[in-house]
Symmetry: D4
Subunit: 248 residues, 8 copies
């Protein structure tokens, strides 16, 4: 799948230094390893500039540790989302520099702190209850090498708060905006700034928020054309795409 | 059911001027008439200060005319919503002063133009596509005796437009805010003004607006506490409740 | 954002008593403070006549106490909804006059008991299971300075119960009606009275109530034109808007 | 499947008057005929006291005529619902006594008018727009041999109208109640009467009625325990079950 | 509301033995008592032949005991559904003859065991997981004075089981059929018998049953015309309506 | 992608008869052609034993003809589903042996009638309104070389009809069962036979069928373990998978 | 219902060795036993080649043991899904060879290990979180006598992983593909292989997966025509149908 | 709102060259004009580098022409989406260089063809039915000054097609991927490339696509972390955001 490697392989075939069956086998030998219970994709680091991210939910502490160890053998950094405290504890025993953020459940080993982003990423949230999701976005963006400007509690019901932060928003190269309830903040931010806005609906709200559905639909129907949307509570996704954009 | 009429009826029973069976019959004889196909509720004019409103959709032109005639015999004004042009034509033949508004399908006879509202009602809409719903709200509020301030096309994606209309909004005693798509305008207006805001979701929008569901959920989850919601595209309901409030 | 303050600021600029950069800074210096984790909006008291309300769910007891302390420094009253007992306990330790209502989770400090409402607000609920939501509405309306008439357990399946309370309902200037299951009570109340009715769907019911969706849809489709709706279980919202209306 | 017929068949087997293969074949020879495109179930007349009912929607006029002819060969009466005018026209050419009701699309041949019901069936509707569905219920109940008391336009927003019809309702042995919008009428009727109430949600209403979903959910969540529900706009089903009950 | 009592009251007014204000007060004095937290409706026993039923969910044990005591003062029997064990314990301490059924959460005092039903009610369930709902239906039907024939575990995937119970089903005057998953049993039973079938969807099933929604929709769309539907898991409602029908 | 072709290509590279860049190009030269507006996948015929099927909906007659021509150049047979009459007409002008089935909108050129299936496929439908979907399944299965046994109008409400067809069903190697409304027929058939059952929900039904959603959910929740489900109205998919299974 | 047994019974009737009432009774005496709380269907083993499977959820440990004992008296094997550890413990005490798989909750007694499948069944899952569902499918397929090839963690976001397993997939006679989130893996696998693919949506995912709804809809709308779908998390169903197909 | 303009305004106030009321008025005089029926936002061109886009649906041809004329007075280019042919005709009469694309309904005046994007935008679609949406994306991206690489008909069911286009995809700086049905293509593309992917669900599909809901949910749940989503059929939004990103 790697065009250059394939070409050189074909050359080896021509030269006879590699047999045909070996060539076939190598062509099938993809750059990922098989741990038995999960295939760690080291190749992704090349494509996206980010090692395999561990989605911790529903994985046993031992599984998390196993994957984490393998990732850290090949990469300086580790990001695990939705991790249970028990798994975090186990990883921290082996990797003491690991940080655990209980609000968002993020577990992070951040050794390689080189910067890849060309500007600032604004990570904004509408209310204090949205902070866990925004934190996941911020930690993701940071470990991917970005300067983050965090702005919280500026929902549309108090437009003057939003206006007061206008300048900070205007300086961002891309914005991640987390909001629950009616999810209107991305539209408002999107109307103020010229950069791309990644909207992250959160599951915060009274009954008819339907666990984030109201915010999700609101954001998808945003009348600001610079808004795109990721999954409910998916702070990681928001931080990830913002990092890709900021790297351009 | 009318406390006073009931009391006087009981007095007549005591005095013997009304027999018991007659009394029973009268007590059951409610203040509405039976047209056969629809019961026109003249009593409502007393309770809500508004004659029976005709919901024109799915009624034949003859039905509309029949009810309209009966209403106009007892009341100076007539309001029919969602009326087909054919029904409007038929009513205008008999009542030439009737006005028909094809955008919203409102048919109106507005003879009695006395004012009942104590302040101004702001009728706001987010985009030009929401105008038919806003028009229904405005025409309803006007026939119920209110001064209406109509403000259109000030969606949240252009917050400066909203800000430019802030003063006009601030002078309203109650606001009706119509919006489709993500339905965020009521929240933003609600954050700017101190008065009650009636939010009317409209069915305008791209695919995931789901015919107004996104706007509806957005408004129900508004983080502005002064917002209440009526049905999708129900401009009439918005204008009606605003009128009741403005009368207080 | 305050027209008068802005005008006087411009005058100071003209007089030279305030420099341009200071003016720009002041214009951006909105009337809210930054606590780091949440921006308390004291300005709202001026706009809506009500200090910032704390939505307690998902906030740590320390957060709740922090915001509560700040609010009470500037305002005589405090209202916190959906508060956990632990947070309530912490606040009561510092502010012994705080009351906690475990059914609804409302935490209230009610020092300033001046009346602002011009009439009575009826707070009605359909069944005993709806009482927590109705209580939230009642406590909100009271702290906002209103006389409340609480009427419970008069669902439409026993219309005679509703009829027996007709007179009490008729005396209200605005009604908040809480109901789960099919949510039909607001329509019935709305047909009896001439005042605005704020309908609050509750999440009470058997399976196909879908956590309040049935009641919500029922209320949005009310055939009584004086009914508007707030979010599921949002007793606070119902009490809030009723207070705004009763103040007119 | 017919216990007696089966017993006598076994007796014939024992006596040798019927061979085993013939017996097997007869046991499989059910009392329905095969028209090729549809199996007309004459047996149903015995079980439910009603010949096969034709659901006309999506059937070509020729299909409708074909089934109708076969039904009328064996039964005095015919009921076809949701019939297109073209199909009705075709059937009327062959069976001039056929009646067509364009509002509901019911096509009826009513030769055998013997009474089977022991009391009166009340067929009630909330608004004039619900009349097509109520008509389908009424025509079904009539052809199944019942006395029908039709009451229209008594929605809950005008409770006094409902109260005025209380006596008529109280005399019914079973009630079919059709309502759109919030679908609250069955609950209210159910609270007034002691008999079973069949609720028929209709697809009438503004946006958030979602084509009858709001009414359907409302009725399923009725707080009146004597209410059961059939499909949206299924007047036929309402009339059918009411007839079965009235026959007991 | 009681025609005779009202007539005699009017006679007393005529005779002067009751004053007008007293009459008005009495007319408003409905046959229910006010316990403060819940209005017990003794009048319902007259209308539906069943005392007030207590919906135990979300009520404190003390509330349940309070209402239960009041009901048992005026009626021989008590039915409480969805009762927590703690509430059941408390009631059993005061009323030792009370029975508690932990599977369904029904609490029952069954002193008056007179029969009111004219035939047998079949209470059928599709799988063993549906038994709690079927039990609620059975206990309701029994306390309302009916002979119940309980048939369990005859889902449509094993049609021969259903066929084997055909005769028992055929002898019922009305059937209550409880089923989760795809909810097809009521259709199948409805096709076998000629009597009314009350379908009760249960919340049992794998993921896409969506807590009973699949069964509910299946039953509403039943191609057997003798099927009506009640709320998800509402065994009580099924038993209640079946009792009303069996009494005819 | 073709293992053998790849191996032989590598051999040619080794032998030098193919250059490396040519090899790379060939490896990327997939067995599909580019028509500009649509890529016809002739390779699929090898994998699935079926040429590219044209989904006619929303394609212009010219597009359909263009793709059809290309398909018929390489394959004896053609299957186009959901074709408009105009497109069918155009194709028939060029390929007179094409058959058009207006009920289902299937357009078929069936030159190669060799048999691939090892047994019979039963294509069953519940009611006459489901015939268009069943027809699409049948025509698909036939062109893929199968013997089809079509059985119609045997819904669960008349179980004896189903029972009467039991033997025919039992002889099938795989069954495709199409049903709308509550979609219970696949469960019932699945309980009778031991072979795999492909359930096809149809969009036929009254209001709460929600365009096939009720049937779809019913089938997904089937208590018969041999049932799998395809998309609503997707007769093609049902016939396709049945053919694959029958070929084993 | 067993054609041969029925024929021989009729012969006995003819010969007089069985009386008519006995014959009727036997014909009704289906091949299932009545345990009181659940009818164990031994007959199913004949039809589907698989003894009754116990759905453990919501059943008490004693119930599970009771049914398990009865099954094991007549069959060598036992499969119980969604079993609680307590029930598993109880069964293992009586049947020590029982295996319990805590991830999936499967309880299995696998004495009869004869092979019935003619090829290999591939059981594939997209991510490690889908393993419990895939395990249920695998254990089911194994106990039904199949060779299983388990392939995990090859989601579409890493297409090279999928490609690397292409050969293993191509050798399967039928594939079961389990995936949560967007559920795209069955489409991708279906495009690679020519055999039938049973798609099993899992409830794994962030917010807008809505407990498997997203995956379910994705699979139903698969553009690969060889894909059919079972219920969310229904690994058992997937393994079951795959076994039926592999047996052909 | 423009920081610099505001500063210079304040300076004018200090200098006395602008009076205070004039300053207030100017501050409120936003850079948009009021056409009466719609406010054209010329300011947006500065913020987003794109003039006001006209959403043509539901606007009369005259409205479209009016707005278009105003836009073209101040900007060289015009983009109108979802335009009816009649409106396009009217605009073309006045602006002959206007192009109309009937498939997507886009109306475009493209005078200023300067390039703003720094790389190529790939606009990909899964099937030929998705072309109208992809066209809207492409035309938007082009008028915003981008090089577009359009790739169509490479759905996941034919992964080899996707693989064959891998290189073209890899060269894009950002990709817009349009897909209906299960919407899996963005995940697959996202797994192949390292750049941001904007997913556009389309409303194309069989029944259970629910007008694009299945594709929308699929994309939101994408397991490729570089995917964000816009509204159903919102090709414009996809092209717009891609343009903003490509400009960075």
């Amino acid at each position: 799948m790697d065009q250059h490697r394939l070409k050189s392989l074909l050359e080896q075939v021509r030269e006879g230094s590699v047999g045909i069956d070996d060539a076939l086998a190598q062509m099938r030998h993809m750059p990922f390893e098989d741990l038995g219970f999960a295939k760690v994709d080291h190749h992704r680091a090349i494509r996206h500039g980010m090692p395999e991210v561990i989605f911790g939910k529903g994985k046993s502490p031992e599984h998390v540790l196993g994957i984490a160890s393998r990732v850290l053998e090949q990469s300086g950094n580790l990001l695990a989302t939705r991790t249970e405290p028990a798994a975090a504890e186990l990883v921290k025993q082996k990797f003491p520099e690991a940080e655990y953020f209980p609000l968002s459940g993020v577990l992070r080993v951040w050794r390689d702190r080189s910067m890849h982003g060309k500007g600032t990423i604004a990570v904004v949230c509408a209310g204090t209850s949205d902070i866990p999701v925004a934190e996941e976005a911020q930690l993701t963006a940071e470990i991917m090498g970005n300067q983050v400007e965090a702005i919280s509690d500026i929902g549309v019901a108090g437009i003057h708060r939003l206006m007061a932060n206008r300048e900070r928003l205007a300086q961002a190269r891309v914005a991640v905006v987390c909001a629950g309830m009616e999810g209107a903040l991305p539209s408002a931010v999107g109307g103020l700034v010229g950069c791309p806005v990644i909207a992250v609906p959160t599951s915060i709200g009274y009954g008819a928020s339907f666990h984030g559905l109201a915010a999700l639909l609101g954001m998808l129907n945003s009348c600001s054309s610079n808004v795109t949307v990721v999954n409910i509570d998916n702070g990681f996704g928001g931080g990830y795409v913002a990092s890709l954009i900021n790297r351009l």
